[in-house]
Symmetry: D2
Subunit: 496 residues, 4 copies
């Protein structure tokens, strides 16, 4: 079965009965909606590049389950080399879209659920792992896009799922039937939801026995009965409705987030991957988070490449690209970006096999990776704004540049005046200058800033979540012993 083309992917979405609400209304033709479409284009790029021979090694893989050629986004990592290739594929996609391309969450969910179901079955004799393999083969062979849905609304954060005033604050089982379960709840901040064919739902925190009904994982099609999405709004979202290709900054690609609601959705047994074995909720979360923290060492680096390039271009257009202060800022941006990449590569290279056979990343280094991602893109953005200059936020609209309205004493139009005063050195058109300024505006404070900044901070877990993991994984007792050895401290007592 051949891999889907980008076009086929987009057409396949039209066949789904996905329910999308935005600005208080149902959106019928959501595939062509100008606000939503850039996100679809991003996922489409994961299909397009897989068709391109020059990217074959990164974009495709041989399925460990079937031996078929598959898109790497549906692959179970078979080696640390596979983990490294994943990061490189993500950097490539970031470079091609300057956006969150959203298909990673599914890939990370596949790998986390695969190994967790294996260990759950091992303990309980359940058949979740077989369920999952069957499901995954279907996804691989049909080359489908799957959302990995984790973050629950959480309600009162000081309370466990079973203690919430409203039990729906975490996705949970409301009815158990012989042929399946009925679930309710919602998932927040879902990036790759609208444009996915299927969803995998996973718990969002470690759980105790009282939370049994909330310890649930399963797959369902995006247009399952009872499932719908409420679209979140982003900075400058409606600029996409203006029909202007320049002012949007990035006319083709973009990210998105939605609230995904499950209103009594029936899940047949064959799509269930966890159902009450609460002590495995934490494992699933930790593994998914680990993979996803690795991911950021690839995708955000690719976006960073474009930001650095745009800043260099802005400097060139402004005529200052040879100034030592400018060059030094571009070096610093590159340095920070490649540090992120190093972290992405390192946690991959140091990966190791799970019991189920697929590879997982080095957990400590993946958390270190993501922790840096919560910092460096912000500094890269600051430096990009520094290099771009104030024009990035004060330049008149594209419509002004094209306007025929007369303003000047000699019949000059608004357009004439804009083109006169925003000209710089010879050979640079004011249109190109607008384009680079608007692209940087989009990255630094427009719609793309949601993905490059805030998502870098909170995606795959907020900074404090990584610090907790670093604290746990940092082997502080071993390090104390190293210090004792050198300092000559002989203590047979406790090490507290």
């Amino acid at each position: 079965m051949p891999l889907m083309t980008a076009k086929e992917y987009i057409e396949s979405l039209r066949k789904l009965n996905t329910r999308v609400y935005m600005f208080g209304q149902k959106i019928d033709n959501w595939v062509d909606d100008p606000i939503i479409r850039p996100s679809i284009n991003c996922v489409a790029m994961t299909y397009a590049l897989a068709q391109d021979p020059q990217y074959e090694d990164l974009m495709t893989a041989t399925s460990s389950l079937t031996g078929h050629e598959i898109n790497r986004f549906t692959h179970l990592h078979q080696s640390s080399e596979d983990l490294v290739k994943k990061v490189k594929m993500q950097r490539l996609l970031g470079q091609k879209t300057a956006s969150c391309f959203q298909r990673c969450v599914g890939m990370d969910a596949f790998n986390a659920v695969f190994s967790t179901t294996f260990e759950t079955d091992e303990k309980y004799g359940t058949s979740y792992h077989e369920n999952f393999k069957t499901f995954l083969i279907k996804m691989q062979d049909a080359d489908l896009t799957v959302d990995g849905a984790m973050t629950d609304p959480k309600g009162d954060r000081s309370k466990a799922p079973h203690d919430q005033a409203d039990p729906d604050m975490f996705v949970h089982v409301v009815e158990r039937r012989s042929d399946g379960i009925v679930v309710c709840g919602a998932k927040c901040h879902q990036t790759g939801s609208v444009n996915s064919h299927w969803h995998i739902f996973m718990p969002t925190i470690a759980m105790g026995e009282a939370d049994k009904d909330w310890a649930v994982s399963f797959a369902c099609p995006t247009d399952a009965e009872g499932m719908y999405l409420i679209y979140g709004r982003q900075s400058c979202d409606t600029r996409k409705l203006e029909g202007c290709s320049i002012d949007v900054g990035n006319a083709k690609f973009g990210g998105q987030e939605a609230l995904v609601v499950l209103d009594h959705v029936f899940i047949p047994n064959e799509y269930i991957f966890l159902n009450g074995e609460y002590e495995f909720a934490g494992m699933m979360v930790e593994r998914f988070a680990g993979y996803h923290r690795q991911s950021y060492g690839g995708c955000k680096v690719g976006v960073g490449d474009v930001v650095i390039g745009a800043a260099a271009l802005a400097a060139e257009y402004n005529g200052v690209e040879k100034a030592s202060a400018i060059k030094d800022k571009l070096i610093e941006m590159t340095h920070l970006n490649e540090t992120l990449y190093s972290c992405g590569i390192a946690c991959s290279c140091e990966g190791c096999p799970t019991k189920a056979g697929n590879y997982q990343i080095d957990l400590l280094l993946a958390n270190v990776c993501k922790q840096n991602v919560t910092r460096f893109p912000y500094e890269i953005v600051r430096l990009a704004e520094d290099i771009a200059g104030g024009l990035m936020v004060t330049i008149p609209s594209q419509r002004d540049f094209g306007s025929d309205t007369v303003v000047g004493n000699n019949g000059e139009t608004i357009g004439d005046i804009c083109n006169k005063y925003f000209a710089t050195r010879k050979g640079v058109s004011t249109e190109d200058r607008q384009r680079v300024m608007r692209f940087l505006e989009n990255m630094c404070l427009g719609a793309a800033a949601v993905g490059y900044r805030t998502e870098s901070l909170h995606g795959a877990g907020s900074p404090q979540a990584q610090r907790i993991m670093i604290g746990r994984q940092g082997d502080i007792q071993d390090k104390k012993q190293l210090a004792k050895n050198i300092a000559g401290i002989v203590s047979d007592k406790e090490d507290n």
Copy 2:
């Protein structure tokens, strides 16, 4: 003559024939335009607070020229205490508007032009200082708002004004008549232009003899014949057109920028403050920049106060305000913000009189102040985003929260579902949660981010401009001598 009220100020704008263009068209009733109005409200606040007895000491002063009570925004600083009060007034305004309130540029221009004209007259026997005093008394007595316009388009940055392909790239004299001059050119990034009654134009760089015609400073009314403005667009600008009070984040206040064009504008002799005495162009620039770099140690601190408060509120609503990591981040934000304030206070406290008698700030410390302003607001914003959580950029629109469209199996509306899933702990309404999230979105990546971030970077000169001044003012030869004294190095040779 009593100080104007806020209402009188707004009405006074209607009487002007100010020409404003936006999105390719002339805006007739610009005073009530929803995109422009928030900026007018900001300046109106400088009038309103001056009427409030509790702020009298900060907001008003006694004119050194007339002895009349005036708004401090039109005052010539008579002491370092005045300079400190200026900073405190700016912090207050920042707290009340969470915006750039735009009237400072005029105040800083007043003080720079006052002392520079004095020294120009002293050398050349010109009468610019008298011209300026007469002009200023008029402004003080009528309590008018004046824009200080400095930044020229600059064209090819590697070339001096007289070397540009288009001479209009810097404002210049195109004709000298017995009764005045005719000027052409433009000023970029003008924040307090549309909402000002008058403008003071100043050169933007130090100049040489060949740039004589570009070494010009003068005042003119905002609706002078031949003068018009093209409005710049900001992140999320059109959200203000939606008629939603929540999604805009800050419904009442905001900043703005415009390109101000002078198309053969005639300036009568009495409003000319520099006309060819090129060696004073640099002094005017340096003094204005010095005052304006001080200003940022007040206004941005006030805005920072609101950002910190909003982050604390978000933490409270999220139910995590007692977590040590949250408290520590609020402390760090406060620490950074108060460091900025310390710099604003210090360069004021260390101020000294000019030859003309008004006070100027300590130039080294004012540059240090601004340099920190190019860094810390970015970190404050990053920490605010960290505390707020991803919801800041993924929450559905206000219209979703209010929508009656049915989505659920039991007749729930979009509004019901939004209010259900975005509820947190008891006692917090989802509307308040929306409000704080939208306010932070506005500050971090919406329209207000233009003022709080990019303007902090580039306003009053980009970071490198301050570094050059710090290098010049840092007395490195003196410091070398201190080191030689201690290290026992006796060198009678050159100090290079």
Copy 3:
């Protein structure tokens, strides 16, 4: 009574029976001990500069108690101008010594005890304030140096004073007699102890009723019966014993720390300033800490000036002072150093009178000042090491440069070879190069690093102590209200 000269000060120390122990032995002639003497020279500089007419305004003041001319180090600050002058005096001393000059702790203790005793008396009708005034007049008139001793050993830090296994872990009253009290305990990290004529002891933490006997403050002469000092060792301390003027880096000045032990010392009533009124312990600590945190915005800035100068000198000797990267690093060092100064000036400028009439600093800004001091000198040091180059830590000893031992094939000596290979550009002697390298070594990792780095971190309270104060003083509830006002949140409920 005239102010003491530096020479008289040094002679006056010889008359004291101060008991100093070091390296396990009593040091009889401690005034001339090569390890201790640099510290004495530092304090002597506070006398020398007070004799110099050019520094009179900074170094001297008119006593508010007697009207006599006194050294500013014994002054009660009468205005915010006095507070500013204090900071400038400290910067001057830092520039002249490149060291901690140690007399500040007494000055800060004077001002804290003066106002605290006033308020204690006000509540309890005690006569501590009179005691203190009489004592201070004596110190002012005789121009004596006084140590302000605060930090107790603290033992088990999780326990209050009265709960410690050993009650001596905090200084306390062991006997109350009609004519005075007998005290036991110790104070750690005392910088200005050996070279002081008197000591003021203060509690180190806020206390509860059970800690009454530990809530004690008093003065005693440095050679009081039962009092002695154990000298701490510093990095490179014994290099001062080598008799080499170059390798020590700073041959004349230096800091020190000692453990000050009180072994049943009798304190007559007239020297008691607190004796059981436990609720005033916290006030005394907080006020002293506030003044001392301000101090660091002066003294460390002065030292920073010398470090910057030395780095610039090293760059000059290395022949790279014109490289843009070097210039930029010197600018950054200057920027950081002046930011510290701004904080020192601002918390002074914003000072206000106590009930007792002397001025105290702005507590929030003083804590902000010190918090920055825990960071920036480390970065200044790092940049200095960067500019200096590796030679700073690899250059052979002064004895090698002067050695006659033959090593080369043609009779060259070690000295010849060192002078050959460590020569740089024409006009720079290898001796001067040694001197600047050794000075920087001394500042960055030698004896002076104790003062410039570690003391910047922990002196006047460790970083976390300032964070707690910033949290408390930051008015977070007010800031929340500002945010509510702008975001349109009307909440009549609690603000928790």
Copy 4:
């Protein structure tokens, strides 16, 4: 031929006639000199661990030249896996010594010279590669330690080698004979020199044709006729002469630096690896620097592990290890340290084969690695000092703690008093507290700080050297094209 034991290594040094000068004199028994010995112990550890079966995989390798088992320090890397193992071996050694262990420079020289000689021969038909292989087999089989000597004194840095007033400022050929060459000059900052059996000399900069005689690389035994070393002095060096095991901080291990002088040393043809082919000087430098910048991502991380452990231990002894601020600082230290490690791993994992067949690292990422090493250890040190508390620099000497001199009223000795007042919580001995404080003092500002701080800054090239390489390797033109693609900029013109 079996690998040498640590003991055999030390004995082998005694057989050399190495000429070492220190403090102006020749040191005869330098192997047992207390200042020098810790450096020898470090290298000895590279032998000891290679004997330990648990470290066999990291510490040994199979020679690509002979198939023999060799110490990895003499290995030519055959794969990126080998490069990763190199980094892990270095982290291990750093953990075991908390020092620079000095044998890496030789390993990095082996790999750089191996591939450069191959390419030189390829162009010129010279036999340097064969010379080098023969030499290396000898080193591998005899398991010898070799110093890689690169940094010349450089004299006037604005001048090329052939332009220097003194031609010896760079090592050069002074005579060419049929059987070899005679060389003069010196190398600075040599860490692994005294304790090496042989040296490889390499040029230190790219060279032009006029510098032909300076474009020279060769090997010679450490005790070659005409070669001698002048030992540099380090912070706290003489503390090692006191015979105290505690006050030195790290009693067994340490680093060192020496000036290595070549005074007409004859080099037989078989040991020559470059001789006038000036255009290969730059390649040798860049490759060596690349390997050595990778190395720092291993060795300094290992030292960092010990520093973190010691800080945690200090917190434990101080009784504050559960405080959230302390835990957070340990997490930050771990985070920074593991970021360095990630960079070391990543540039290894991304390695690729040279023409000669051995593997070289990814040059961009290796420079990024080292750039981070110039920053993070300084912050780790600052945090360690923060956690340790002021006692780290104020605690009395070991001799005080052991002193019998009576000081107290009841016969207490200095030792009694020190042990009383520096006690903390139950179960912690004051000796252990001394040990951890002294260890941290040693790392932060003592002898070990030379290696952990200054060497991190300047070793393998100063920060600016890496920035230049990052700028060159960062592919800015490619990044500009990425931005153009997304922003819709079609420019067929130059990309300048």
